[in-house]
């Protein structure tokens, strides 16, 4: 008999329990309750978020697969498809940084090859507390090493990413990983079970007691008691996954498979019932046949285990031998654990005896759906009010410039990406750290460009606009390397949705993503939601992370961030001027997150992005970089570093009777891109910009050993290139000089 305590321990409400009873027409047994609880956890069922996610635009001419599958699929021409998705592994990474991050990488990679695609690139989007704390430094080291440990070993390059620091993340770091794969359009396979009598195969690692209740854990806030949950840590085995990856891609050559799915959150339960539900079929499996790592495992443990590196396959009847042969070659042993049935039930046996029987569809698709109450935070107005006159003087602009360059949010991320093999597969045509991720597609003239971006400060101040800005920035980063955005995925990291202010942040952010994607013609093909990111009532900054994918039709036309030569003309494309609301400048210099984030005119943004892509395609750009954290001054400096370093002499737009020097240098604005062009191309570029109605102006020239800014006709900031680069280069790495073993 199931008592209220057991129901509560499974994270289910009384109403949810009643619903289970209604679906079954009887009380569930403990195993059935466990199955429902993981399927109906926030993590698997999206019960708080679905109602909002439905509003996102998902259609487009290139969309072959939108949300609902293991990953989204876009047609990239030439019979090929891009398959991509982003996933969070926030809670596990806090508990065990190395393994948490590593298994996060393993999970998203499985989502991609499960669709029949060869994974070709990874990006990571990270958030941590302040690096002044040794605990945070250990976390950063562990997470970065974990991503490296898994990605490097399996041989998929981590070609870029982003990272930001804020105290709200200190107890809730964010580890989001994006993976992109390439498949033949007609080789894409889906996670569905069809064809009564077809075999259900289990392949991969043996099942242990790992992460049981992991899915429910990811849906509950942390408190002191979560220390108890520690044994729920999973250890990744990238070698096993490499074998699975190669074996899967080889098996797919045979067309003996009907469907496949990896076992991620909620393991065998989720993979079997979702495949059954998608295909409208029943699944009959025997847990006694599941390979087990530990002795005396119960059906409950086997069904709920989250052991990594396991897959479920549906094999056409009569074709089993071909499949077996491939797995044997790779020293993997595929085991037949059951078959597809026509009755729509998930039937679980333990050596023949039926131990659970649940209709698949209601289990997977009829999970509770909540329209949780939301309410604007009471202090929102206060947050958005910014009175610069009350701030302590921030020192001279030169001092601020130096300090910003050396702050970890802006400084070079080389300490991170140097640990990632960003070159394996020899497709990486923009070096790590020099712009969006770009991989060429061998055998075609094309390349794919992709970027992950999010700005928690902006979203904290205005989640609607902040989310729009994230879409715009991600797409802009793709445009800067010469790409045309064609689709996006998103990872929504928020606090506890049962709190109305958090739910309000979430709803507003989703609305912002939807509006921006519609205006920029970028369909959303999938994503991931991570809620309950709070510790002791302190929520993270709302952090939607966007992963935009674009195409570069001629890979030879790719553009990087760094200046290529002295004597080039430096231009600003987009309306000049920035504001300090929500800026990195305010954060670094004054320790505050206040004001309103930059205005965004989506039509102007779209025109700018199209102009830049077009100029790149015409071979007119020597470099391009968008203005984001730290404003125009920092963007220009970032173009000067690398390639041996090339200084510049520029006039910053604006005047002293306007917003002032700090805003002109460090104020942030959307829709601004700094480019360098050959002298001979400058006029043509200005003409093209005018024709596209994009404001454009010459700022100055590249060259020399200094970074020189003038403002309103007067010298404003002047720093030696070598000194500036030194600060920027060591701003992050200096925290890790003494490694915490």
């Amino acid at each position: 008999m199931i008592d209220p305590g057991t129901i509560a321990a499974h994270g289910l409400t009384t109403e949810e329990y009643q619903r289970i009873v209604a679906i079954l027409g009887r009380d569930p047994n403990l195993l059935e309750l466990g199955i429902f609880s993981v399927m109906w956890s926030e993590h698997c069922s999206y019960k708080s978020s679905r109602i909002h996610l439905r509003t996102l635009p998902t259609a487009g001419p290139r969309v072959l697969q939108g949300p609902g599958e293991n990953a989204g699929v876009l047609d990239i021409g030439g019979g090929l498809a891009a398959v991509f998705k982003i996933e969070s592994h926030n809670h596990p990474s806090f508990i065990e940084p190395y393994q948490g991050a590593a298994t996060g990488v393993g999970g998203i990679i499985r989502d991609i090859f499960t669709m029949g695609a060869r994974p070709v690139a990874l990006l990571d989007s990270l958030r941590f507390g302040s690096l002044e704390s040794p605990a945070t430094r250990r976390l950063v080291q562990g997470v970065v090493a974990g991503i490296a440990g898994y990605g490097n070993s399996i041989g998929i390059p981590t070609v870029g990413g982003e990272v930001a620091f804020d105290d709200t993340y200190s107890g809730n770091p964010l580890v989001n990983v994006f993976c992109l794969g390439i498949a033949p359009v007609d080789g894409v396979i889906r996670g569905r079970a069809e064809g009564t009598g077809n075999a259900v195969y289990y392949v991969g690692a043996k099942t242990g007691r790992d992460g049981i209740h992991g899915a429910t854990m990811a849906s509950a806030e942390f408190d002191d008691a979560s220390a108890e949950k520690r044994p729920n840590v999973q250890v990744g085995d990238p070698f096993m996954e490499k074998l699975l990856l190669e074996a899967c891609l080889e098996v797919l050559q045979t067309d003996a498979l009907v469907g496949l799915q990896d076992m991620g959150a909620a393991g065998l339960t989720c993979s079997s019932c979702e495949m059954g539900a998608r295909g409208g079929a029943g699944i009959d499996i025997d847990v006694a046949r599941v390979p087990q790592r530990e002795s005396d495992m119960t059906p409950y443990e086997i069904m709920l285990s989250e052991s990594q590196e396991r897959m479920l396959f549906i094999v056409r009847q009569g074709r089993e031998a071909e499949v077996d042969r491939v797995f044997e070659k790779w020293d993997l042993h595929a085991v037949r654990i059951g078959e597809v049935t026509g009755d729509g039930l998930l039937r679980v046996r333990d050596g023949g005896e039926i131990v659970a029987e649940i209709p698949n569809r209601p289990l997977a698709d009829e999970a509770p759906l909540y329209d949780r109450p939301y309410r604007e935070p009471e202090d929102l107005h206060q947050r958005q009010t910014l009175d610069l006159s009350v701030l302590a003087p921030g020192g001279t602009p030169s001092m601020a410039f130096r300090r910003l360059l050396g702050s970890p949010g802006i400084a070079s991320k080389r300490w991170i990406y140097r640990q990632y093999d960003h070159m394996v597969r020899t497709n990486t045509i923009v070096p790590a750290g020099a712009g969006a991720g770009v991989v060429r597609v061998k055998g075609t003239p094309r390349a794919l460009a992709f970027s992950v971006d999010g700005n928690g400060r902006y979203c904290f101040l205005d989640p609607y606009r902040g989310a729009m800005l994230a879409v715009a920035e991600s797409a802009r980063n793709v445009a800067c390397v010469g790409g045309r955005p064609i689709g996006a995925t998103n990872c929504l990291n928020f606090g506890n949705p049962e709190r109305p202010e958090i739910m309000w942040q979430f709803a507003r952010a989703v609305a912002g993503i939807g509006d921006a994607c519609r205006a920029l013609h970028i369909p959303i093909t999938g994503g991931n939601v991570s809620l309950y990111n709070e510790t002791d009532g302190q929520a993270i900054l709302p952090t939607p992370v966007l992963g935009v994918v674009g195409i570069i039709e001629d890979a030879r036309r790719v553009v990087g961030r760094v200046f290529r030569e002295a004597g080039a003309v430096v231009m600003l494309l987009g309306a000049p001027g920035g504001a300090l609301g929500g800026s990195e400048y305010l954060k670094v210099m004054h320790g505050i997150v206040r004001g309103t984030p930059p205005e965004l005119d989506l039509e102007a943004e779209r025109a700018l992005q199209q102009l830049v892509a077009e100029l790149a395609e015409a071979g007119r750009l020597r470099s391009a970089h968008d203005c984001s954290d730290g404003g125009l001054a920092v963007a220009l400096a970032e173009c000067a570093f690398g390639n041996g370093g090339i200084g510049f002499d520029v006039a910053i737009p604006g005047s002293s009777d306007g917003a002032g020097l700090a805003a002109a240098l460090f104020g942030e604005a959307a829709s601004q891109i700094v480019v360098s062009v050959r002298e001979a191309d400058a006029d043509a570029v200005l003409e093209r910009a005018a024709a596209a109605s994009v404001p454009a102006q010459v700022l100055g020239r590249t060259g020399g050993e200094r970074l020189r800014f003038t403002f309103d006709g007067e010298p404003a900031v002047e720093v030696e290139l070598a000194e500036a680069e030194q600060r920027w280069a060591t701003g992050l790495s200096r925290y890790f000089e003494v490694p915490a073993a």
Partner: protein, 238 residues
């Protein structure tokens, strides 16, 4: 020429070696599964980079027992050119085809970046098109490339001029700070006493095209192509 690229479970630069040799340099390339008992008559053998057997236990320690390694040994013994890149180098060390061993990088971190290598010997099948003192810009990507050999071995290496590449500054000057992984004597690559087996940590196959940032790695493969016809004794042995 015909190359055999051996694929161990966990190899992940096999496709990269294939691409460089077949697509860029236009050679015939066979990917040879590690359980195979036949190299299929190659003129040269490549042990590619990656994480054979996950690099569990020690890098290359388990791969050395793969069935194909007997054929590789015979091929090498008969004078055939064998090149081990990164994990392939580690396999050659574990297999005893080259002297010395590997430790974790000095700072214990995986390092992926372009480095500069000075060519120390041009009388090998892999460097005959290069000049001694020439500096190549080629990427590394490894966590355990900190080469070690005991003093006796080191003096033998020196005496027989088996040190083929060293990490240096861009101008070729010795500089301990450029010895990124802490290798003894900044050694990046060595060859066998007979000179036909080369192991190196850097990845020449990642430096064969302008698009990926360097073409300096081509000289290694072009040297092999330029090598005199494979001795008849090798052909018999296979």
């Amino acid at each position: 020429m015909r190359f055999a690229v051996v694929v161990f479970p966990g190899s992940n630069c096999d496709h990269d070696a294939y691409h460089a040799l077949a697509d860029v340099l236009g050679q015939q390339v066979d990917l040879v599964w590690h359980k195979a008992t036949d190299l299929r008559g190659p003129d040269a053998v490549v042990l590619p980079g990656g994480f054979s057997y996950g690099d569990y236990l020690r890098c290359g320690a388990i791969a050395r027992f793969s069935p194909i390694m007997d054929r590789v040994r015979e091929f090498a013994a008969a004078g055939g050119p064998v090149i081990g890149i990164c994990n392939g180098f580690q396999v050659l060390l574990e297999a005893g085809l080259l002297p010395g061993g590997m430790r974790r990088n000095r700072d214990l971190k995986f390092i992926c970046e372009h480095v500069h290598l000075r060519v120390e010997a041009s009388d090998t099948p892999f460097t005959r098109r290069a000049a001694v003192g020439q500096v190549l810009r080629i990427p590394i990507a490894h966590g355990e490339g900190n080469y070690y050999a005991d003093p006796g071995t080191l003096s033998e290496l020196a005496e027989n001029r088996q040190i083929v590449f060293r990490y240096t500054a861009p101008d070729g000057a010795a500089d301990e700070r450029r010895n990124v992984n802490g290798s003894t004597q900044a050694i990046a690559g060595i060859c066998s006493r007979e000179r036909n087996v080369l192991g190196l940590m850097p990845h020449p196959e990642r430096a064969c095209e302008v698009a990926v940032g360097s073409t300096d790695g081509r000289v290694v493969f072009e040297s092999v192509l330029a090598a005199a016809a494979v001795p008849a004794s090798v052909a018999e042995a296979i």
